[in-house]
Symmetry: C2
Subunit: 346 residues, 2 copies
Amino acid sequence: MTKKISIAIDAMGGDNSPFKTIEGVNLFIKKNSFKEDFIINLFGDESKINKELSKYKIPSRFFKITHTKSIVSDEETPLTAIKNSKNTSMWNCIKSQTDGNADISLSAGNTGVLLVISRMILKMMQEVSKPALAGLWPNVKNVNVVLDLGANIECNDENLVDFAELGSALYKSLFPNDRPIVSLLNIGSEEIKGTEILKRTYKKLNHLSSENNFIFKGYIEGNKIMDGETNVIVSDGFTGNIALKTAEGTAKFITDNLKESLTGNILSKLSLIFSYYALKKFKNKLDPRKYNGAILLGLNGPVVKSHGGIDGIGFYHSIDLCYKIVKGNLMDQIKNNLSHLSVNKK
Amino acid sequence: MTKKISIAIDAMGGDNSPFKTIEGVNLFIKKNSFKEDFIINLFGDESKINKELSKYKIPSRFFKITHTKSIVSDEETPLTAIKNSKNTSMWNCIKSQTDGNADISLSAGNTGVLLVISRMILKMMQEVSKPALAGLWPNVKNVNVVLDLGANIECNDENLVDFAELGSALYKSLFPNDRPIVSLLNIGSEEIKGTEILKRTYKKLNHLSSENNFIFKGYIEGNKIMDGETNVIVSDGFTGNIALKTAEGTAKFITDNLKESLTGNILSKLSLIFSYYALKKFKNKLDPRKYNGAILLGLNGPVVKSHGGIDGIGFYHSIDLCYKIVKGNLMDQIKNNLSHLSVNKK
């Protein structure tokens, strides 16, 4: 019998928890119970968790609860967290990886605190200069990995090369049959464009591209992120965060406008009867809940951050992401990328 | 009689010119002929321009043609342009401002070359550290000014403060009754977030905000750009360009998906009959042609860059922008902002 995939979940993090986290857990178990190859470790207030669990019929072999009284508050800053977060549900959820009881940790709690204590507990991989936060971004074909989304506001070329390796390892864990195509986010596609750091990174990635782990495609501009021609998009955390949030804001602006237009008069409302399924399909494809979950890469264990305000369906998608990442051997993919390339990296 | 607003147009720049530039000129003159307060100076191949003009019935008092044989090619780099661009339609179009024959110049040609030769010919304003490229961005209420969109990839706090002043002058020229609200693009809204340069800029803008020219509202995140709570958004050219292009790409991705969904089956196609006007209104509001035209600010004269691939309607909108900017006394607004604030700026 192979070892089960063990997912540690901070049941208390984010808005409306454990209501939404347990709703997500229930959805995940319902859809995957035939697999029998995983176990969910829940961290948080046992009585509250049990109250939520009692709403569903989940076979007890699929989960464990580790009672943890305190939680990380939204007001906690990364600075105060080092002192105050010990033995919170978030802390114990991450700690369970070093105890050998989990393959991955998931929380919808305070992002800054999660980044700091993950790094404290799991420690950085020796070969990595800075950990990065990666996200999944829809494109015309399927989905991209984009990183860093905000863990590091200033990055040098060595960091960016690491992100390319970490990002392609993540992509390979999700799509094992592909050789990832990597691009570097910039303001033009010509080799001479951009900052000195980007130009140096370009040269290094071009050189590494001859190795077998990924194909470097050069620079990519913001308007091409969703074109589906690239699998991994590399950026410093400042730029990546601006791009991600600008895309979110634009998507919201457009869909709000569409909604307003289509419900503006009786005739357009009537049209909704005929376009109901088409619009549902459209909405479903672009549903941000499907892309919920940013992955912290570069530590001695993966940590996934769910959006704090997401609902149970969104939280389900982040559990599903955790499962897929471990199933796809993310940590081995990373080690393979890093060791393979370390000779030529500098 | 007051002096007429004189708009210099490079009739040859961009794809399909002078076909599209003259189409735009015709539209502008048709819509504004009752005003009688402007004149269009066209620069380019006279016979080609006349051939296009002959398609329309434009009274000759609204335009002048200055024959200019050579044009700036798309392959020209900013470096080679200094040597090769003299006496091209773009060059003469900008030059006419220093000769006192134009209040503003408009071109859809090569962006890099336009930035370089505009700076050569018009020279930087003494009080400005770096010129910036500003764009109009739709929001839920109306439109924002966003700058810099790519003229300067690295900026210090002094540059960013200048951009705030230039941007609010531009906003005031377009909306004379408003006191512009200025925000600084960052990855969080708290005062402690972001790079050292942004933190220093924050302090300076906070201080300047007590003056009367604009209200500084602090940091803004990418997802709030279109919320309509801010009139001027300040950023370095790298970040601004990434944000702009990411928004463009996201908008295209979503509208393409919508189109595909709504024409996917016979039932949804049927719905289009009922939603025709609603969707037309939606499309019209988000039509990127309405926001065509980036404004180069900080030189001793304004230069507007139209998108090279835009059609005649888009080019019309950039002419309209030129007219409004001059009508709103952009250069006076800038001088007023800069002189008013120069004492407290450093």
